[in-house]
Symmetry: C2
Subunit: 753 residues, 2 copies
C-alpha cells in the first residue's frame, strides 16, 4: 500500500473490526473514498476492494493493518484524533490534509470521533485505573481496638469460642439437623456463661448488660440462627422474666434459663396481631376459687405465631394475654405458661404448630401456639407492673392499661439495641467478603494491558464504599445508644426508646441494602452458599420486620419527634418556625446565604461543620413542616387519624432526618477522641463520604428547599466520587480492622482466589 492508501487503514480497520459499524456505514465509507479526487483510480479501486462485504480481508491482513497503525501511534504518542492519525499514516499527504473537513464530517456520520476510538489501537499498560492499589497506611490493630472500645475482653472470649472446631458451619439443608446443631451451640455458649451475662449475679449471671450486647454483636459474625436462638432464650425469654417478673420469678427461673436447662419462648405476636400488639386476643381468666389463670386462644386467628423456640425446644413461654377478672378486661399482661413437659412432650391443652421452612434463620424453630384452657397457678403472672391481690382484685401502680402495656414493652427495649448491633456485624461480614474479593478479582482492562481489579472501577467503588463509611458511622452510634441505654434515667426513657426504635429500623434497612449490593458486587460467586452472602442476606432479611416492623417503628420515632418538637417549641407560626429551624445553628446568618448555598470549594465541602449544619437544617425543617402540615389538615376539618395517614410519607422523612443527624453527630463525637493521626485521617474521610453521599442522596430535598444550589450539589457528587477513589486504597485495611475471624467469614472465595 502506498501512503495515500495507508491513510485509510484506520477507517478500514474500524469498518471490519469495530462492532459499531453497520453495513450501511460501509457504504458511506465507500462513497467517501470514491469521491476523493486526489486518490488515483487504482488506489480507489484497491481501497474499495477492501470494503467488499462479500470478500472481506483475511484475518491476517486485518492483523497486519493493526500492527501498522499501532506502530504509528507508538511513534507519535501525541496523536489525538482519527484524522491526525490517518494523516500521519499518509506521510502527511497534501491530498489527505485537504480532505480534512470532509473526513471530519465522515467521522461525525459514523460516530467515531474523539480519541476514544484510538483505544482499539493503543495498549494501555499505564492507565490510572490499572495502577490503583491497596495501600497499608495505618495500624490496623489499633483501629480494631478503637472499634472494640471497652469490650475487647469479652469480644476475645466470644471469638475464641466461635472459632472452635465444633462451631464449624452446618451445611445440611435438613431443618431438623440444623435446629439441633444450633441448640447444641447455644448449650456450649450457656456453659461458657455467655447466655446469662446480663442476669444478676445472685442468680448465677454476669450482671453485665454491656457485655451481653457485645456478645450478641460478636456472635453475629457466626451463624445468625444461633444469634437469634440465643437472643430468644436469654434475651426475650430470660429478660421478660427478669424485667416483668419479681423476686419469686427470678429465684425460680433465672438460673435455669441462664444455663439453658429451661428453654423458653417469648409469645407475644398472634396471627391477627403483629405490629398492633395492643389488640392481642389471647385471654388469661382469673379464677379466684382456686387462684389460677386459664389461658385461652379464643379463635384460630388469635394463635401465637412465629414464636422462636416453640416448634421444638421450648418448655415454657412468657405469654402476653389479656387479663380477665370477673368478666372484666384489664388489658394485656404477661404469664409464664408451660408448653412442654420435661420429656419434650407437649403439655396438656397446648397445641403447637411449626412455621416450617423460612427464607432464613432455619436453625431457629419458630412455631405457633394455641392454648385450650390451660390452667396455671397465680404465681405465674409476671407481676412487676400489675398483679391480682389476695382478694382477687386487680392492682397496678399504672392505672392506664395502655400506658402499663407500653411501660412493659419499654423494659424490653434492649432487643432494639441488640438487633441492630447484630445486623451491623452481618453487614461487616458482607463488606469484608465483598471488598476483599473485589480487591483481588480482575475483570476487563485496557486494551493490551492486564485485567484490572474490579474495585478499581468507579461504579464498584460507588456501590460498596459508601456502605463501608456507613458501617463505621453506625458502629459508633450504636455504641452511643448502648451507653445511653445503660445509663438511662426515667425522664430520658422515651427519647431512648425512640432512638432505639429508629436505630433498629435505620440500621437493619441499611444492612439489607448493603448485603444486596455485596451479593451483586461479587457476581455469580455471591449466589453460591459457600460464600455465605446467601446466609447473611436471608438471615438478616427478617430483621427489618421482627422486634417491630421498620415502617411502624419509623412512624413511632416521628411521633416522638413531633412531641419533643412541640414541647420545645409550642405554637406554630411562620416567624416562630424560622426561629426554631435556626435556633441551634451556630452560623445562623450564613444559612441560605447565597455565598454558602453556592460554596463549592473543597475545604468547605469537606468541613464537618457544614455537614452538621446541613443535617440539622434538614431535620428541623422537615420536622417543623410536618407539624405544620398536620395542623393545617386538622384545622381544615380532617379527622386527626386521617391526617396522620395523609402525612405518613412525610413522617418517614422526619424520622430519617433525625436519625441521620444523630449518626453523623455521634460518629464525629467519636472521631474527636482519636489521637492516632493516620487512623483519624481515615475516619474523617469515611465521615466525609458518609455525610456527602447522604446529602447527595437528599439533593432533591436540598435543592427544593433552596438550601443548596445546583453548582453545590454537582460539586458534592464530584467529591463523593473522589472520596470513593481515595478510600478504595484503604478499603481492605478498613475491613480488616473489623477483625472478623476467617472461619466465621467462611467464604470460599477468600481462601481460593
Amino acid at each position: 500500500m502506498n501512503n495515500n492508501q495507508q491513510s485509510f487503514l484506520p477507517l478500514l480497520y474500524l469498518a471490519w473490526s469495530d462492532d459499531l459499524l453497520t453495513q450501511k456505514e460501509h457504504e458511506i465509507i465507500r462513497g467517501f473514498i470514491s469521491s476523493q479526487s486526489w486518490l488515483s483510480d487504482s488506489s480507489k479501486s484497491e481501497l474499495l476492494s477492501k470494503l467488499d462485504v462479500s470478500a472481506p480481508p483475511s484475518r491476517e491482513e486485518l492483523a497486519a493493518w493493526k500492527t501498522t497503525i499501532h506502530s504509528e501511534l507508538v511513534k507519535n504518542p501525541e496523536l489525538r484524533s482519527l484524522f491526525s492519525l490517518s494523516l500521519a499514516l499518509s506521510g502527511n499527504s497534501d491530498g489527505f490534509a485537504n480532505a480534512r473537513n470532509e473526513f471530519v464530517q465522515l467521522e461525525n456520520e459514523l460516530g467515531i470521533l474523539g480519541e476514544e476510538i484510538l483505544l482499539s489501537f493503543r495498549t494501555g499498560e499505564n492507565t490510572l485505573t490499572a495502577k490503583h492499589d491497596t495501600v497499608h497506611g495505618f495500624d490496623i490493630e489499633k483501629l480494631t481496638r478503637l472499634l472494640e472500645g471497652d469490650e475487647s475482653d469479652i469480644i476475645k472470649k466470644v471469638k475464641a469460642v466461635i472459632t472452635r472446631r465444633d462451631f464449624a458451619y452446618e451445611t445440611s439443608t435438613d431443618v431438623d439437623v440444623y435446629r439441633e446443631k444450633v441448640l447444641e451451640w447455644c448449650k456450649i455458649l450457656a456453659d461458657e456463661n455467655l447466655g446469662n451475662m446480663a442476669f444478676p449475679t445472685e442468680f448465677g449471671g454476669g450482671g453485665n448488660m454491656r457485655d451481653y450486647f457485645a456478645i450478641m454483636e460478636t456472635l453475629s459474625y457466626h451463624d445468625l440462627s444461633l444469634v437469634i436462638k440465643f437472643g430468644v432464650q436469654f434475651g426475650l425469654w430470660g429478660m421478660s422474666v427478669y424485667f416483668l417478673g419479681t423476686q419469686k420469678h427470678h429465684e425460680e427461673y433465672l438460673q435455669k434459663i441462664g444455663s439453658l436447662e429451661l428453654p423458653g419462648c417469648f409469645a407475644m405476636t398472634e396471627m391477627h396481631h403483629g405490629s398492633n400488639v395492643k389488640g392481642l386476643e389471647t385471654t388469661a381468666t382469673y379464677d379466684h376459687s382456686n387462684k389460677t389463670f386459664v389461658i385461652k386462644t379464643p379463635h384460630k386467628k388469635a394463635q401465637k405465631e412465629y414464636i422462636g423456640n416453640a416448634a421444638k425446644h421450648g418448655q415454657m413461654a412468657t405469654v402476653f394475654a389479656k387479663l380477665i377478672i370477673d368478666g372484666k378486661d384489664y388489658g394485656v399482661n404477661t404469664f409464664i405458661v408451660p408448653i412442654r413437659n420435661v420429656d419434650g412432650t407437649i403439655a396438656d391443652g397446648v397445641e403447637i404448630g411449626d412455621c416450617g421452612h423460612k427464607m432464613g434463620l432455619n436453625g431457629v424453630d419458630n412455631g405457633t401456639i394455641s392454648f385450650h384452657d390451660v390452667v396455671i397457678p397465680k404465681e405465674n403472672m409476671l407481676d412487676r407492673f400489675a398483679s391480682v391481690n389476695e382478694n382477687g382484685e386487680f392492682e397496678s401502680p399504672i392505672p392506664s392499661d395502655n400506658r402499663r402495656f407500653f411501660t412493659m414493652l419499654g423494659t424490653l427495649v434492649g432487643g432494639r439495641i441488640g438487633i441492630p448491633r447484630s445486623a451491623l456485624s452481618a453487614m461487616k461480614s458482607g463488606l469484608t467478603i465483598a471488598i476483599k474479593y473485589s480487591d483481588q478479582r480482575r475483570q476487563f482492562g485496557p486494551e493490551g494491558g492486564s485485567e484490572v481489579p474490579i474495585l478499581n472501577y468507579r461504579m464498584h467503588q460507588r456501590r460498596l464504599l459508601p456502605y463501608l463509611a456507613k458501617s463505621y458511622a453506625l458502629h459508633f452510634t450504636l455504641r452511643h445508644l448502648t451507653n445511653r441505654f445503660l445509663n438511662r434515667t426515667e425522664d430520658e426513657m422515651q427519647k431512648i426508646e425512640a432512638l432505639a426504635a429508629g436505630m433498629k429500623a435505620y440500621t437493619t434497612w441499611t444492612v439489607r441494602d448493603a448485603l444486596q449490593e455485596c451479593r451483586e458486587a461479587i457476581g455469580g460467586k455471591g449466589y453460591l452458599s459457600e460464600n455465605r452472602i446467601d446466609a447473611l442476606k436471608n438471615d438478616t432479611e427478617i430483621y427489618t420486620t421482627f422486634e417491630g416492623d421498620n415502617t411502624v417503628l419509623m412512624q413511632l420515632v416521628a411521633k416522638n419527634r413531633l412531641s419533643v418538637f412541640r414541647k420545645e417549641f409550642g405554637k406554630l407560626d411562620v416567624g416562630g418556625m424560622i426561629t426554631y429551624v435556626y435556633e441551634n445553628a451556630k452560623t445562623v446568618v450564613s444559612e441560605k446565604n447565597p455565598i454558602i448555598t453556592r460554596r463549592t470549594d473543597e475545604a468547605h465541602l469537606r468541613d464537618f461543620e457544614f455537614h452538621l449544619q446541613a443535617f440539622y437544617y434538614r431535620e428541623k425543617t422537615i420536622l417543623a413542616s410536618a407539624a405544620r402540615r398536620l395542623k393545617k389538615l386538622i384545622d381544615g376539618g380532617m379527622d386527626a387519624y386521617d391526617a396522620f395517614n395523609v402525612a405518613q410519607h412525610q413522617m418517614m422523612d422526619v424520622a430519617n432526618a433525625y436519625l441521620e443527624r444523630v449518626i453523623l453527630e455521634q460518629y464525629h463525637a467519636f472521631i474527636t477522641t482519636v489521637s492516632d493521626a493516620d487512623i483519624k485521617n481515615r475516619l474523617v474521610q469515611l465521615a466525609q463520604l458518609f455525610a456527602l453521599s447522604l446529602i447527595e442522596g437528599h439533593k432533591g430535598w436540598y435543592l427544593e428547599d433552596g438550601y443548596m444550589e445546583s453548582a453545590k450539589t454537582k460539586a458534592i457528587r464530584k467529591l463523593v466520587n473522589q472520596l470513593c477513589w481515595d478510600i478504595r486504597q484503604d478499603a481492605v485495611p478498613l475491613v480488616d480492622a473489623f477483625a472478623i475471624p476467617q472461619s466465621c467469614l467462611g467464604a470460599q472465595i477468600l481462601t481460593d482466589n
Copy 2:
C-alpha cells in the same frame, strides 16, 4: 367533681394515660393547678391528689374520666382543642375562660396542643382511612386479554400444564430431590412440545419464537428453577446449536434436544472470566492429522463455572474455547463436547464439580467443568461464523476475532429478552400476593373503630403501587422489544441488542426491588416459605447477574447510546448541544420557560406530553453531557480508558434515562390502542403514576438542571400520593388481571386469611 374541677379531666386523663408525659411534666401540671386563683383550695387539693404519683387513680376512675370526656365530645363534635373541650367540661366557667392564655401556654409546654390530642377521646368509625375499599370498576377478563395479546392460546396451554397435579411445588430441601423433580417437569414440557417451540419445524419444532417467549413468561408463574433449567436446555443449549451451528448440527441434534433426549449445557463462563468472556482461556487445538480438536482447560482458574445442567444431567455442552491452529490463536469459537456418556457416567477427560447449594434455583444443577485433553471430531465445531477448511486452515466471513465473537453472542440475544420476561412474571406473582393480602390484612385503626386494611395506609400504597404501575409499563415494553427482535433487520441489530441488554438490566433490578418490598409489606408472613415470596425473591436474585451482569450491561447500553448520539449529532459545541437536546421536542419554545418549569396544575402534571417531554429532555441532556465530559477529560490528556472509568457513574444515568423514556413511550403507545374506556382510564392512571413517581425519584436532577422548580416537584409529590390513594381501589382487580393461577401463586396467606 364540680364543674371547675371537671375542666381538668382531660389534663388529668392525659397525665395518666398518655405515654408521652413524664413525671416532671406531672409537676408542671401540679404547678399550674396550684397557681389558679379562681379555684377553691379544696378543689385544688382534690385535683392535686389526683396527680400524686405514689397514689395514682384507680383504673376504674380513669375509665370514668374518659367516659365523661367522651360524652362531652359526642355532645359537641365541633370541639377542636384541648382548651375548648376543657372549657365545655367546666360548663363554660368564667374562671377557666380567663385562664385561657395560661392554659394554652401549658399545652405548649407539654407539647399536647392541636386537635390530634383529642384522638384519644374520640371514636373514629368514620375515618376516610377506614372506609377506603376495593372497587370493581372494569372488566378484568378484558384487561387480561389485552395483556396476553396474540399469545392467549399458548398461555392457556402452558397454564393448563403447570396447574396439573404433577406440578405441585416441591417442598423438599434436599437438593437432589428437587433437581430430579425439575428434570421430570422439563420432560413433561418437552413431551407437550413446549421446549422445541422455537426450533424449525423440519426438526420437530414449532417454528415459533414468539410463542417460545410466551412459554418462558408463563412458566415463570410456576417454579423458577424449572424455568431456568428449561431455558438452559432449550434456550441456551438448543439455540446455540441452532444459531451457531449449521445444517449438519441441526440434523444431528435439534430433534434430540427438543425432546430432551439429549440434555446439554451452555459452557461459556470460566472461573476467571465471567463478564469479560472475551478473555476465556479454554483452548480447542486443531489436529489436522486426524481432523480433531483437543479441548483443554489450561489451569484450574480457567474451568467452566456455574454451568447449568452440568452437575447432574447434561450429556453434551456447547463449549466456548479459543481455537488454536498451528500454535496460532483464532479467538473464541464454539464446540460441541460430550461430557457424559449415555449411562450418565462422566466422559473420559472431563472433570465435573458441583456448585452445591445456592441462594436460590436449587432445582438447577449448576456445576464446573474441566477438560483434560478431550478429543472431539472436527464436525463438532459449530461453524456458522468460522470453520476449519479441508486444508486445516481457518476460514471466516468475519475477519476480526472480536467482531466475530460479538456476532456470535449477538445471535443469543433472545436470552436477554426471555430473562426479563421471566423476571416480570415473578414480580407479578409477588405483587399479586402482597396486594391481595394487604387488602385483607388489618392492623391498627382509629381509636374505637375497627382495624384498617394495611393497603389503606399511605406508606403501604407508596411502597407497592408504583411497582404495580411499573409492572404494567414493563409488560408492554417487553412485548415491544420482543416484536422488534422478531422483526429485526440487520441494521437495527445493534440498537436491539442494546435495548435488550438495557431492558434485561432495568427489569431485573426493578423486580429485585419490588419483591423486596413485597416481602416486607406482608411482614412476618413474607418470611415463611409457604408464602413463596422466599422462592420468588431468591430465585430471581441472580437474574441481575446472569445473562450479563447488570452493571456491565448498563455500560454497554450507554456506550451504544453515545455512539448513536455521535452518529446523529457529530461535533459537540454548546449551541449544537442545545439544538440536540431540543430537536425532538414539540414544544421547543416552552422548555425551561418559567411558566412551564413552575406549572403545577393537575391537568398539566397528568399530561402524557409533559411526561414524555420531561423524559426526553432528561435522556438527551444526560447523554450530551456525558459525551461532553468524556471529550473534555480526553482532550485534557486523560487516557480514554481512564476517562470511561471516571464517567462510569454518569454512564449508568445515560442508560437509565434512555430506558425509562423508551418504557414510558412504549407503554403509552399501547394505551392509545385501547378502546374500553374503563380499562383505558386505569391504564392511564398507572401511566401517570409510573411517570410521576420516576420524575419524583429524579427530582434532584430536574431541579439541578433547572428544568423544574420546587413548586412543581412538590406538586408532583402530592399528586403521586393522590394517585396511589386512587389506584389503591383498583389494585386488587389490577393484579387479578395478571390471571396467575392460584396453584402457581401457591401462597398460603391467600387461601387461609
